[in-house]
């Protein structure tokens, strides 16, 4: 069989296999082109998850008729003006996407440079079908239809339109997050699902694309280290999710998926969040183009850092710094559902309605977080007026900024606070409810503190400080334990011997495929050493971080903190309550307990007034 050069259309189809594997990846290429073209508004229309139709319209610089012909050739691009592949600053640069997509679908390319005539070119699976003048506003419109119609092998492997759409929406979300200066619109089967305006601030954009409540419950990350810079938005530990899919990393404006992020985020939120809870965040990393290689994979979702350890340190340090500054903040407002149960009461209350007028069944249908201390009739009525669970309470209580408790004269007049209150963000203790919650009056509202959770956190922070000052004591082993591992795992552990010794775990290399444990942290007692070392090796391999050891130590500390703190059910004197509040104000991370639940909530004056229908 003679060796021959493959024909162009086959080459394109092979390239398409790498770049275009599903509608979302084609969409990603097209939107990236639009972004690189300097568009300010990008509209995306999909049908059947993009399998039938993907349309991307931008108002960017456009292309002339000759450029359009060239754009459909392989390795033709406008994006490497000085051939500097090491210093790529645009999203795309390979010049492969358009011809690849054109070779596996019916592609309509229409474009108009401002001040010139529009031109259209239709390519069906690699063959030019027709071209001619077109009428369109300045910019480019790309329409991809019947993707993989002539590549049955690929077409068979597409998922349902619903999951293809989910992947496409995720792509748009990431790109939209990366460029808050560009407006994005995503329509699917005629329904507009994502619409963000150009010129939003970054936190607004991230919140719009993840969760509206993020704005109030996040900290801004802004951290410099040498030439690298980390910016972004990270949720407070009290604002967490059950899955880690709301974590976004952007390197030089390019959305990437990198396991480095997972490890670094876990490291930063360690001892602030339970292991199975995950923060919501979007981090924007800016590094000199030479420090990062984006040319790893055709789809460019992976990047390689020249010094991953520095980048990891930067992310952990930046997040930690931002969270430290947040101090005692937590999710400050009670959840909308909890407030909802309160809200309804005063509206119809006081008319002398008899509680017996409402069937008993109603109250059992709605959760009642504030049952204690209310007379029976109140509960039933409150339940009755509670809006049904499906109604959109969140929009009433959480979305719009005008509901922010405003620092205005009216609040002052309600009751003149003790002069002190002004200087204490958590206010002055007024009393204790069910021997569990401290009620305090702050300048701008009512603060409710969970005394056990708060004190537990304070004790833990104190213990952590002690450990940081004194180091971790380690207990030597009479018979050193030999742990058999892979060679690569041993190498990884060997590199970290110094760091691990600081945490009390003394390791030594023992032949090519084993590690010798000489001493273990005294706090852990006689635990399962082998298991611990294996976990560490796995984690270093997966995340480049040794989290288990710190986590185990933290767990011991947390358990001790739990036992050593004021329990719920203990009556506190006012002086004790005030002391607790003052300490919370100066202790970092006192806004959440060790599992990420809030230790206090604030009911602003505005909220209170709302409860009484005054506003």
């Amino acid at each position: 069989m003679p060796i021959r050069r493959l024909p162009e259309h086959l080459v394109n189809r092979i390239a398409a296999g790498e770049v275009v594997e599903r509608p979302a990846s084609a969409l990603k290429e097209l939107v990236e082109n639009a972004v690189d073209a300097g568009a300010t508004r990008i509209t995306v229309r999909l049908s059947s998850g993009g399998i039938d139709r993907v349309e991307v319209i931008d108002d960017g610089c456009g292309m002339s008729a000759e450029e359009m012909a060239l754009a459909l050739e392989r390795h033709a691009t406008s994006k490497l003006p000085d051939d500097d592949i090491e210093g790529v600053e645009t999203l795309g640069f390979r010049g492969e996407a358009l011809p690849s997509i054109a070779s596996v679908s019916r592609l309509t390319l229409e474009s108009r440079v401002r001040g010139a005539e529009g031109w259209s070119r239709i390519v069906d699976n690699g063959d030019l079908e027709e071209e001619g003048p077109a009428a369109l506003p300045p910019g480019t419109r790309v329409l991809v239809e019947n993707l993989f119609a002539k590549v049955p092998a690929r077409r068979k492997f597409l998922r349902t339109p619903r999951s293809e759409y989910a992947a496409a929406a995720d792509t748009i979300r990431r790109l939209a997050m990366a460029r808050s200066d560009i407006g994005f619109t995503l329509e699917h089967d005629g329904r507009r699902n994502i619409a963000v305006q150009p010129g939003e601030t970054r936190p607004e954009r991230v919140a719009a694309l993840t969760d509206r409540q993020l704005i109030e419950n996040s900290v801004a990350v802004d951290y410099d280290r040498g030439t690298a810079k980390l910016e972004g938005v990270a949720s407070l530990p009290t604002f967490n999710r059950g899955v880690a899919d709301h974590q976004y990393l952007f390197v030089n404006g390019r959305p990437v998926k990198d396991r480095l992020l997972i490890g670094a985020v876990r490291g930063a939120y360690q001892d602030l969040l339970a292991r199975d809870r995950h923060p919501v965040l979007a981090l924007f990393l800016t590094v000199p183009a030479g420090e990062v290689d984006v040319n790893v994979h055709p789809a460019k979702t992976e990047v390689r850092f020249r010094e991953p350890a520095n980048i990891r340190g930067l992310i952990v340090g930046g997040l930690r710094h931002a969270l430290d500054e947040a101090g005692f903040r937590s999710v400050q407002r009670p959840s909308a559902a909890a407030l909802g149960n309160w809200q309804a009461e005063p509206v119809e209350g006081g008319v002398g309605q008899s509680s017996t007028a409402y069937p008993q069944g109603y109250s059992s249908e709605h959760p009642q977080p504030h049952q204690q201390g209310h007379p029976q009739g109140f509960q039933q009525r409150a339940a009755f007026f509670t809006p049904p669970p499906g109604s959109d309470q969140a929009s009433v209580w959480d979305g719009a900024p005008e509901y922010q408790p405003a620092p205005e004269g009216k609040a002052e007049a309600a009751e003149a606070p003790v002069p002190d209150a002004a200087t204490h963000p958590l206010g002055i203790a007024r009393g204790q409810v069910s021997e569990t919650y401290i009620v305090a009056e702050a300048e701008d509202g009512l603060v409710i503190v969970d005394q056990h959770a708060a004190h537990e956190r304070l004790v833990l922070e104190r213990m952590n400080r002690a450990v940081a000052e004194g180091g971790v004591a380690s207990q030597g082993l009479l018979v050193p334990e030999v742990v058999d591992l892979d060679e690569s795992a041993c190498d990884a552990l060997e590199e970290r011997i110094g760091e691990l010794a600081e945490l009390g775990l003394e390791l030594e290399r023992f032949g090519p495929k084993a590690m010798l444990v000489r001493a273990t942290p005294a706090m852990l007692g006689a635990g399962d050493t082998k298991g611990l070392v294996r976990d560490l090796a796995d984690e270093i391999a997966a995340y480049d971080q040794h989290l288990s050891l710190k986590e185990k130590l933290d767990h011991v500390a947390a358990t001790m903190a739990c036992h050593g703190s004021v329990r719920a059910g203990r009556v506190l004197a006012v002086a004790e309550m005030n002391a607790l509040l003052r300490e919370m104000e100066v202790t970092p991370h006192s806004g959440q307990c060790n599992h990420g639940r809030p230790t206090w909530v604030k009911l602003g004056h505005g909220d209170i007034e709302k409860l009484f229908g005054r506003k």
Partner: protein, 370 residues
Amino acid sequence: MKATIERAVLLKSLGHVQSVVERRNTIPILSNVLIEAVEGGGIKLMATDLDLQIVETVEAQVEQAGATTVSAHTLFDIVRKLPEGSQVSLEAAEGKMAVNAGRARFNLSTLPRDDFPVIAEGDLPTVFEIPAATLREIVDKTRFAISTEETRYYLNGIFFHVTDDDQPVLKAAATDGHRLARFTLPRPDGAEGMPDVIIPRKCIAELRKMLDELDGTVEIALSDSKVRFGLGTAVMTSKLIDGTFPDYNRVIPTGNDKLLKIDPRSFEEGVDRVATIATEKTRAVKMALDTDKITLSVTSPENGTASEEVAGQYGSDGFEIGFNARYLLDILGQVQGDAIEVHLADAAAPTLIRENDKASALYVLMPMRV
């Protein structure tokens, strides 16, 4: 089955057997005690957790022979609450057992005796006797070092083996990886050729309880998988831990050249006092050695500091070493004499503690890095 027994006798032996029974069982019959009345021979009580079994024979007037099983803890609680000096009558019939004493009447549900598991002893070729007091000493001086960590199951017991050093000896050793305790005694007659055995922790604990009330000697019979203790009226049979005890002789240091002689009582009290400051979990005590004096100190970032000087004979170079206070106290609590030798090498090497070179007990302790 029908028998009458004095409450005090029944309570004592039920106390022995019921502690073998685990509080929660997946196999219902393991919660029960087997009661077997033998015509003219008293009654036999038996309990097991499948690894350990105790059989105790007590005197009773048996009117009708027979056997049944009832919940051990329930029966024990009932007997405990019966008036002192009463006669307890046990009568089993038709799946129930009646327990009557004075005017109290109980009717307990039973499980058939044929389902009750019995550990097959098999052949126990090695048989020897040890005075109860000696066995008590062996257990006391070693059991504190038994590991509780399940992953290294072979450390969850006391290791017994015979060797011929200068003279034939029987050695008992226990370790948890941080400290080691070893007891040596002249080899009892009949123990030659004994297999190396690891007697599990629970068996040791039950054995120790029984030894409190026992004078005279204990008959030990064992094979490489089972051990049986003859304890007067009671017989305890246990499975052994199927594993290899590490070669602990390697960790007993021989070249420790720094010798500290010290009064164990003042040492113990000093450690105990300064450890008050230590945080609950680590309890590290630092020992600064200097000529003829040691300074014990504890620093806790939370609580403050403590230090105490203890007099002792020490002539080598001064240095500092840290120990877990609890480990030190465990060892010192087992020393009776008025002087102990502490053989040290450096702050990271194992330390040897014993009364003198003739003493039967020897301890090795790993220092802590503080």
